[in-house]
Symmetry: C2
Subunit: 302 residues, 2 copies
């Protein structure tokens, strides 16, 4: 690799890997993560972690039962029943979503058996804010009175209504529905692959987040039909299998850890990215949007 | 295509193609665009429109000389000299940028001749706000005191400093630089393919926007090296040619038109997306972020 691109990369990527000065309060991303204590990381819970295996590799999704308990439970049931094995990613719309599941889901003649999964679920657009360990960002947000993180997930909160909800940031996973609020059961899912469509917040049930492998979805060819559908089944991306990590032999699981969003290391990371202090940035923004905050995930050290 | 996906699509895509009630003030995107008078559309200026031809198709970039006159001029000179012909897209980083140009740009042994192009340009991070037809969005923005649109481009403005600048929204194109503010000449360019990295605003020179074909860049495989580089030249995406539309025979030009951002149709479109009134949305957001506003482009009717 030649000098110019490397420098350009570092320049452009100061955003993502800022070389940092010595002062502790202005350390860069890499330093902060390297120095974070073991206690700042949490193991993903195999009972709420999904492995979606594609020819290109594995996509790992962490479910959010704290916000969508009924959907998370039904998705786990569908995974145990191997519902998604042999289904496909049948829609990829640029700057919006990659959607997957049973493309024939509403065709009585062709729909896959849902097995033991529920056929009807309540909408889980929001929940009571009480009882959540909500770590608020001080930064202004146009979509919600308050934004922050709950156990690794970006969220909004309305202190007056006493409600909280997951936010449609990049890599978030939601349950497709029809016009009726309670028409999703978690069998048809989508992952956000573009500019955060926050207008969907509190309008659809978000069920979790892609914590590894989002690039396998975001780099898929966009569907040629309206709204990114592939009419030709051959263009769809086959899903080999979707499994709960807990259903996979322990030795075959990915030992992933997520940086705790209630840790001092995370707070320092957010500030380091709110005000970039490296040589590239001439004017630190003094602001960060909820959906611009990185949520680091790593493979556990042995 | 079966019923379920179509409905799901419409649901998820209400954001993008909302079926609208009858009242004029709550018409959907398709209706608004279909009814927009010819005067609401502007032809792209062939003197500031670039065609980047890849094996997968054509990417069309509109330059913004109002904000980056020196860079736009140099880019036009480089295109006239066929500088990018045979270069490549040598970096694609997920949720960030696709970067292209001469990967050997800083290697004296291998760098391509810049021809008549300038070797040094001033930084064009911002300009005087005076003299710009700035159409402000009323919506709050965390990155800039004011945001809106100038002749089709998303922009920020500081009324106290009297400055305006282009904003790093999806599909915006910028000039990669090194640590020095004036180290870009427009030969190495990047397009935003993820969540808007607004922290780069006023820190780097934005030169224009991809108005057609961004999906050809956003769907490229992500580079395996740090920051999305492809160390293996075989993995890079060849650029066949980059031409000014004015250098292409009139009969071979794409007759593209952009919806005028100073038109009543655009204002109606923004409001229709700020407050979705279709059957899908149960809670209109009452807000829209600068980078969530669609900037419609169409092929001129004969």
């Amino acid at each position: 690799m030649t000098l110019r691109p490397v420098l350009l990369a570092c320049a452009l990527c100061a955003a993502f890997a800022a070389p940092a000065p010595a002062q502790a309060q202005t350390r860069g991303l890499q330093e902060i993560l390297a120095d974070a204590p073991a206690s700042a990381w949490r193991d993903l819970d195999p009972e709420r972690t999904l492995y979606m295996d594609l020819e290109a590799g594995r996509v790992v999704i962490e479910l959010a039962p704290a916000f969508a308990p009924a959907h998370a439970r039904n998705i786990a049931t569908l995974a145990r029943g191997h519902f998604w094995d042999g289904t496909s990613i049948y829609r990829v719309q640029d700057n919006f979503v990659a959607q997957f599941g049973d493309v024939d889901g509403e065709d009585p003649e062709k729909a896959k058996d849902l097995g033991r999964a529920a056929r009807k679920l309540p909408a889980e657009f929001e929940r009571e804010a009480a009882g959540l360990d909500f770590h608020r960002l001080p930064d202004a947000d146009g979509w919600a009175p308050e934004v922050g993180f709950v156990d690794g997930f970006p969220a909004g909160r309305d202190p007056h209504e006493g409600k909280a909800w997951l936010a449609h940031c990049y890599a978030m996973v939601g349950a497709g529905r029809n016009a009726e609020p309670d028409s999703s059961i978690g069998a048809e899912l989508y992952a956000v692959i573009g500019q955060s469509p926050r207008q969907l917040d509190r309008n659809i049930t978000l069920v979790g987040r892609v914590v590894k492998g989002i690039e396998l979805l975001s780099s898929l060819p966009r569907g040629p039909e309206p709204m990114g559908f592939y009419e030709d089944p051959a263009q769809r991306t086959p899903i080999f299998s979707v499994r709960l990590a807990s259903e996979v032999p322990a030795g075959e699981r990915l030992r992933l850890q997520a940086l705790r969003t209630d840790s001092a290391a995370f707070a320092e990371l957010v500030e380091a990215r709110r005000n970039r202090r490296d040589d590239f940035y001439k004017r630190p923004a003094g602001h960060i949007d909820l959906c611009n905050v990185m949520l680091p995930v790593r493979v556990a050290a042995d």
